[in-house]
């Protein structure tokens, strides 16, 4: 059911193209697949509130999608497929709850404080359906759940992916992923993780957890942890879709804009990150003319908005750095001094040794490889970077540029030992051969 291969969903789904009655199964199937991609989160979120239980809600939503295929083949695609599906799923949930009293009794989940919702959303015959997508997202990314469980739940409940698909995306056996999802759902219900949007006081921390999950999805897709391809398109698209959804739901949060901008600006280079033979191309070798200009333009606009109002957060700052790269005519002509300054700010907003590593790389461009190397030497003492493949890779590159071939070769070998991605391995092996052969 997740077969729709469309790119970014447009901000406004617009009216559907259903044209009256008649048996049109292919059109109905396409509409169902499309609604699965666009509306899953909305339908499940609204159904969860009525069902009071995530498993029950999922079951009812699945049923609704199945009956949609039949009904839409017969009667045509409704004007608002999301509302149709929600109404159907919610009716089914209410029905099951009425019939099954034991089901009704065991529901401690979804302690739903009934505050008014931000968007009153759609009406299709059974009253106003509130937009509960944010509740769903914040519940999936609750800090009482382990990060990997947050990621799995978000893909499953917000994106509607099957457990098999999630397992494949993270190179985890399916039973392991199934157990992870089940355990997380159990905790939500047994520990009573509330189905709500956090209040203003908790929002910054809780939002950061949500954005971290989306960003993790993106980075996992951007450079796949293993296998042949460098990029895992499906994850990148899901992450971009989630960031876009959050942007629409929380238009006043600069960090949400920052994250969407970061994703768009980074992914704009997608087509140029590999040579036709699959070889990895670094930023300085990429054909900048092939970067996705519309995505960059949108990203630049979002960055400007995200930086407005002072005290930018870590996603806005990373997006600002990506924006400087996107605007630079070439690698050497990039505004490296400004990038170093942004990394300084980023290091204050986000204490991460990876930020320090990236700053060292930028410093090497702004002030020469020697300066960068001195920074890296300091970072090598940080135990949090032990085993981080980009540290020896960065070191190797600076040593190569300084003409210290033997040391560079040793660093390339160290990086190779830590890398599983095929394209990255190819790249490192190529550079190793280059410096070893000199």
């Amino acid at each position: 059911m997740t077969g729709a291969a469309a790119g970014h969903p447009p901000a406004d789904p617009g009216p559907s193209t259903g044209s009256g009655a008649g048996r049109d199964r292919p059109a109905a199937a396409a509409a169902v697949a499309d609604a699965h991609r666009r509306e899953w989160a909305f339908v499940l979120a609204a159904t969860a509130r009525v069902a009071g239980d995530l498993d029950l809600a999922e079951e009812c939503v699945q049923d609704a999608y199945v009956s949609a295929l039949e009904a839409w083949s017969q009667q045509g695609v409704p004007r608002n497929p999301g509302a149709w599906l929600t109404t159907t799923a919610r009716r089914r949930a209410i029905d099951l709850l009425r019939r099954d009293t034991t089901l009704r009794r065991k529901l401690p989940l979804l302690v739903t404080p009934d505050e008014p919702t931000a968007q009153p959303a759609v009406d299709e015959g059974c009253g106003v359906i509130p937009d509960d997508r944010l509740r769903l997202v914040f519940t999936c990314c609750h800090p009482a759940l382990a990060r990997e469980a947050q990621v799995a739940l978000t893909l499953r409940l917000v994106c509607g992916l099957s457990t098999a698909e999630i397992a494949r995306a993270f190179l985890v056996p399916e039973p392991t992923m199934a157990a992870r999802v089940t355990r997380a759902k159990k905790k939500i219900s047994a520990a009573r993780i509330a189905y709500r949007v956090p209040d203003a006081a908790e929002l910054p921390d809780r939002l950061d957890a949500v954005l971290t999950v989306v960003h993790l999805l993106f980075t996992t897709g951007h450079t796949a942890p293993g296998g042949d391809g460098l990029v895992r398109r499906d994850l990148v698209d899901r992450a971009a879709g989630l960031a876009r959804m959050l942007c629409a739901l929380m238009p006043d949060e600069p960090e949400v804009r920052g994250l969407l901008a970061l994703i768009l600006l980074t992914d704009a280079r997608r087509a140029t990150r590999c040579a036709p033979d699959g070889r990895l191309l670094l930023l300085d070798e990429q054909d900048r003319g092939q970067w996705d200009r519309p995505a960059i333009d949108e990203g630049l606009r979002l960055v400007r908005e995200a930086l407005r109002g002072g005290r930018p957060g870590r996603f806005a700052l990373q997006a600002a750095i990506a924006a400087l790269h996107a605007q630079a005519p070439s690698y050497p002509a990039t505004d490296w001094a400004q990038i170093v300054r942004l990394y300084d700010l980023l290091g204050r907003a986000w204490l991460s040794p990876v930020v320090a590593l990236n700053r060292a790389v930028a410093l090497a461009m702004a002030a020469g490889p020697g300066a960068g190397l001195a920074e890296l030497a300091r970072l090598e003492a940080d135990p949090r970077l032990a085993g981080y493949r980009y540290l020896p890779a960065a070191k190797a590159d600076l040593l190569r540029r300084l003409g210290r071939a033997d040391e560079a070769a040793a660093a390339y070998r160290a990086a190779l030992e830590l890398t599983d991605n095929h394209a990255e391995r190819q790249f490192l092996a190529g550079r190793l051969a280059e410096v070893a052969g000199r």
């Binding site: 034991t102 009794r105 065991k106 401690p108 302690v111 404080p113 609750h142 009482a144 047994a190 520990a191 009573r192 993780i193 509330a194 956090p198 908790e202």
Partner: protein, 115 residues
Amino acid sequence: MAEYLILIFEDENSYATATPDVFQEVMEAHNRFAAQVGEKGGKIVEGRALQPTSTATTIRNDVVTDGPFAETKEALGGYYLIEARDLDHALEIAKLTPARFGGVEVRPIMVFDNA
């Protein structure tokens, strides 16, 4: 409202070597905590401190042995059974629980269907 157990895990050595002033502060912190829980809209159903693990006896397969179930640096030293609306509320209360030599674990109390 639901019930949660807040388990207080602390380093026993720190208590063994603590001055009377420290004990006084700890007692005051717990009294303050009791008042704060009410202000937060929660309720303490019960709360107790335990004797140190040196007084513990473990039984496994009917074999009785001296000592706690698991030897760890931080041992269960006391607990509060509280009532809270949901996990966020329980965690808000748990963050106020005095545990200067360690931390706390929050566990929902299991509710049986036919209870």
